[in-house]
């Protein structure tokens, strides 16, 4: 092959084709979706995320939660995600418009978290789980995130936000308590905000599960 302009043109055009299709198109299309108005409450769908949960998303990124937890419910009947209880409906592009970044994920070493805020709304459960996963699930292989917590001596009354019911080798000894750092509180606020069960016209719930 000695026709150099042809070689360079081909190298350019083949790559440009995928750039247009898989980068420019989603940029102008998926990247410009707007939230819908919820006619019942006057709010938005998907709902706006509280500031603490936005900070929590940064903690989710910094500590690499995405490497084990996906956040997408695939449609039926391609997959059994809905029968498995990952969510009442498939997740669609509009679900992710507030995500920075969108943690779709590629692994389910741990369970999918698209709707963890629905399945597990208890704040203390999440703190127990992050501090010592085996406290709530004895066969869990999730690492402990106790570096997001402080163990401190109880001065007078126990703190309001102290984590209750911890077990295992890292449970606080008598007279001590475990309290979440701001980062841990933010992370839990983010997890509780993961509720992709609101209705969207483009993603009807399947008639029968």
């Amino acid at each position: 092959m000695n026709r150099m302009p042809l070689l360079f043109l081909g190298i350019f055009l083949t790559f440009a084709s995928s750039w247009v299709g898989l980068v420019a198109y989603p940029y102008f299309n998926l990247g410009r979706l707007e939230p819908l108005t919820d006619e019942d409450t006057g709010g938005y769908l998907p709902p706006a995320r509280p500031g603490l949960a936005v900070a929590g998303q940064r903690a989710y990124a910094a500590n690499g939660c995405v490497y084990c937890h996906s956040q997408q419910v695939r449609f039926s009947p391609l997959s059994t995600d809905i029968q498995k209880g990952l969510g009442p409906r498939q997740t669609v592009a509009r679900d992710y418009i507030r995500e920075q970044p969108a943690f779709l994920g590629t692994m389910r070493t741990g369970p999918d978290l698209s709707n963890i805020g629905v399945r597990q709304p208890d704040v203390n459960w999440h703190h127990q789980h992050l501090y010592e996963p085996k406290t709530v699930t004895d066969w869990s292989i999730m690492p402990s995130y106790r570096y997001l917590y402080r163990m401190q001596k109880i001065e007078g009354q126990p703190s309001d936000d102290a984590v209750r019911g911890l077990r295992g080798p890292h449970a606080p000894p008598p007279g001590y308590e475990v309290v979440p750092t701001e980062e841990a509180k933010a992370l839990v606020a983010y997890l509780l905000s993961l509720k992709r069960n609101y209705p969207l016209p483009e993603a009807p719930e399947p008639a029968s599960n």
């Binding site: 070689l7 997408q72 669609v92 970044p101 590629t106 070493t109 690492p143």
Partner: protein
């Protein structure tokens, strides 16, 4: 200028305008400093990356291992592993092989050495800052792009120097045929900056919205493999195989078909990572079709290499370069066909989100690309330092530890992943079962990590011996056995 005869035009070892051995030695010597810098730093990052991978692997079965500190948590060590092996090892070693091949195939001594030395320093600085950034918790957890925004411009500047250098070298090449390896190298060196800049701008510096990010993310990540590593790996195989056995590439036309079909189809593959996800059906379908169409470039290259090797497989017994390169080339066929299959939606639904995918990724990045890099380095380094490899036994250890290690890893993750996928698919099976199924296979994978780390330590020792010219001078090259025929022209 008279065009070269058909056979001569496709085989670097018989080109009429080929160089005499003195000129060739001068060109090799001119590449010495930058290529050794890239190789040496790459081997350093390979060791770091292997260790990070090994610890991450064992954390999956023993979550209590080294826990309790933020910078040792799985969610930071795993991306640190991926980025050090991708950018620190595979890219840097690939750039080193690319520089050497460009100088040889352009048939001119290396120009602007300082440009490349600066690039090597910046590249490593970028990898170091980026890796520390991930460990410190600055990653945004976008797969393959975890390096924080303050480190990627350093890498991009380093890359820009290399890109400019490539174009200058090509511009000042000695007249004559442009060999197939050069097409692949030129394409890779032009695609990468476009790819890297697009992904960094749209995902790190000025992030776009929502699920569009995931589309760009997997367009990027799959193309790093398909349009950066794969062309460099194929360029090396297309050069080393004919060079070692001393006969031309089987078919020029298959080379052309393989190159253009790769360029067209591979670039569209990315969305097969998102089958069933929140995207328009046509985007996913386009990627599924392109993934299946990858049969064309893969089978084409496989036939071309196989027909070139035919009758010369005996050379695998004695040539380290050829043994590593052919292992890599054969794995390329295997991993690509597996990849096409994994893009078929029904199969994808089963194995997506499981250990099957990292098994596939390691087969590609290690079984194919890393083995090809090792093969090329065994050929190139003696020509840079003017010294022969000190021990064929150590090279043999390197090969078998690497080959058995990657075999164990891929087989265990592939099977474990399928069982895990069956557990995910069946609504009657609990999530816990998916862990129970996967755990024994993850332990085998953890053991394979020791073998690979061992292989890399052996290689690092060999490299240090070469650079320092340790041991007694040898008469001829280090071979596994005596060549059977007299055809052998190189090792």
């Amino acid at each position: 200028m008279k065009s070269p005869s058909f056979l001569a035009s496709i085989n670097p070892s018989t080109q009429p305008d080929t160089l005499d051995s003195v000129e060739r030695a001068q060109i090799d010597a001119s590449t010495r400093l930058p290529v050794l810098l890239f190789f040496g730093s790459a081997i350093f990052w390979l060791l770091v990356g292997s260790l990070l991978g090994l610890i991450s692997a064992w954390k999956m079965t023993h979550p209590g291992l080294l826990d309790g500190a933020s910078w040792l948590t799985f969610g930071r060590l795993r991306p640190a592993h991926l980025n050090t092996v991708i950018y620190g090892w595979a890219s840097a070693a690939g750039i080193g092989v690319g520089i050497w091949l460009m100088a040889r195939l352009c048939r001119v001594a290396l120009m602007h050495t300082k440009l490349l030395v600066t690039a090597a320093i910046f590249w490593n600085l970028g990898v170091l800052v980026g890796t520390l950034g991930i460990i410190a918790g600055d990653s945004r957890s976008i797969e393959w792009l975890e390096f924080p925004g303050y480190s990627t411009p350093i890498l991009f500047v380093a890359y820009a120097f290399i890109g400019v250098w490539t174009i200058i070298m090509f511009r000042y090449r000695r007249p004559g045929h442009v060999y197939v390896s050069q097409w692949y190298l030129l394409a890779a060196f032009l695609w990468f900056p476009w790819l890297y800049a697009t992904a960094n701008i749209l995902l790190i510096w000025q992030p776009i919205q929502g699920s569009a990010q995931a589309a760009v993310n997997w367009w990027y990540a799959h193309n790093v493999l398909g349009l950066w590593f794969t062309p460099i790996g194929l360029a090396s195989a297309y050069y080393m195989i004919p060079k070692v056995i001393g006969r031309p590439i089987h078919s020029y036309y298959l080379s052309i078909l393989g190159f253009w079909s790769l360029a067209l189809f591979y670039s569209w593959n990315g969305m097969h990572h998102l089958i069933g996800g929140p995207f328009p059906a046509w985007m996913v379908s386009a990627s599924v079709v392109a993934s299946i169409m990858m049969f064309i470039p893969v089978i084409t290259v496989a036939i071309n290499h196989h027909m070139t090797m035919r009758g010369h497989f005996g050379a695998l017994k004695w040539s380290p370069t050829l043994r590593f390169t052919v292992f890599g080339a054969m794995t390329y066929t295997l991993v690509s066909l597996q990849g096409s299959m994994m893009a078929i939606p029904s199969w994808n639904t089963l194995v997506h989100f499981t250990d099957h995918t990292p098994g596939h990724a390691h087969l590609g990045l290690y079984g194919f690309f890393t083995m090809i890099l090792f093969g090329a380095m065994y050929y190139i380094i003696p020509r840079l330092v003017g010294w022969e490899w000190p021990s064929a036994t150590m090279i043999r250890w390197h090969f078998w530890l690497a080959a058995i290690g990657i075999g164990m890893m891929v087989v265990s993750l592939t099977i474990g992943g399928i069982l895990q996928g069956l557990a995910f698919y069946d609504p009657a099976v609990s999530f816990r079962s998916s862990l129970d199924y996967a755990t024994p296979f993850r332990i085998v994978r953890g053991i394979s990590g020791f073998l690979l780390l061992g292989a890399h330590l052996v290689f690092a020792v060999l490299f240090i011996q070469m650079v320092l010219k340790l041991g007694a001078p040898k008469e001829g090259p280090a071979l596994f056995a005596k060549p059977e025929s007299k055809e052998a022209v190189a090792v």
